[in-house]
């Protein structure tokens, strides 16, 4: 079994109002030992609709979705905490929704690792006349 640091404070929320939790999102009340969330999105905007299927999994083919940022502390940090008031009190929380591997927690978390990759591609049939020069590729 895991143990949450006993020095973590108690979170107390009187009223929690959320409309929706969609697309692999989590709404959690209570302590969590570990959260690992990842979301990969590819948004393709096409001038002309093209419903042909991809030959291979686009997430497998593009190196973009294989990138893993590495986080390493510059030096080890020892944190000493003193809780004069052992509770975090929030009267009211109001928000619309949680989406795309988002996580909302009321409680303590030992470790959370979140990763999001979003890529947008705009596809035109011809050079758009209205686009600024920056958007044009000479080839």
């Amino acid at each position: 079994m895991f143990t949450i640091d006993p020095r973590f404070r108690l979170a107390s929320v009187e009223s929690f109002d959320v409309n929706s939790a969609i697309t692999s999102s989590i709404l959690q009340f209570g302590d969590v030992f570990s959260i690992t969330a990842e979301s990969n999105a590819l948004a393709v905007q096409q001038e002309t609709a093209n419903f042909t299927e991809f030959e291979k999994d686009p997430f497998e083919m593009m190196p973009y979705y294989k990138k893993k940022p590495i986080h390493e502390p510059l030096y080890p940090v020892t944190l000493n905490r003193v809780n004069l008031n052992p509770t975090i009190q929030v009267q009211r929380v109001t928000f619309n929704g949680i989406s795309t591997s988002g996580v909302s927690v009321v409680g303590s978390v030992h470790s959370a690792t979140m990763m999001s990759r979003v890529r947008q591609i705009r596809q035109f049939d011809q050079y758009p006349q209205t686009a600024p020069p920056l958007h044009r590729k000479e080839n």
Partner: protein, 58 residues
Amino acid sequence: MNLNVTNCNLQVDEIKFAAVSSSSLFLIGDAHNITLSSIFDTPPESLIIGPFVPLSIS
């Protein structure tokens, strides 16, 4: 490095926002370790003209 933290009172009346999205974390409480990464690629770099989506370009 030693970091000494004294948590006095933390009392909030109201938290209001639109949404938690794209692997974001909204936390009311304490945490030991949080690692967040985000890669976002948007036009003009992603603007492509032609009949195919170049899925092999990084």
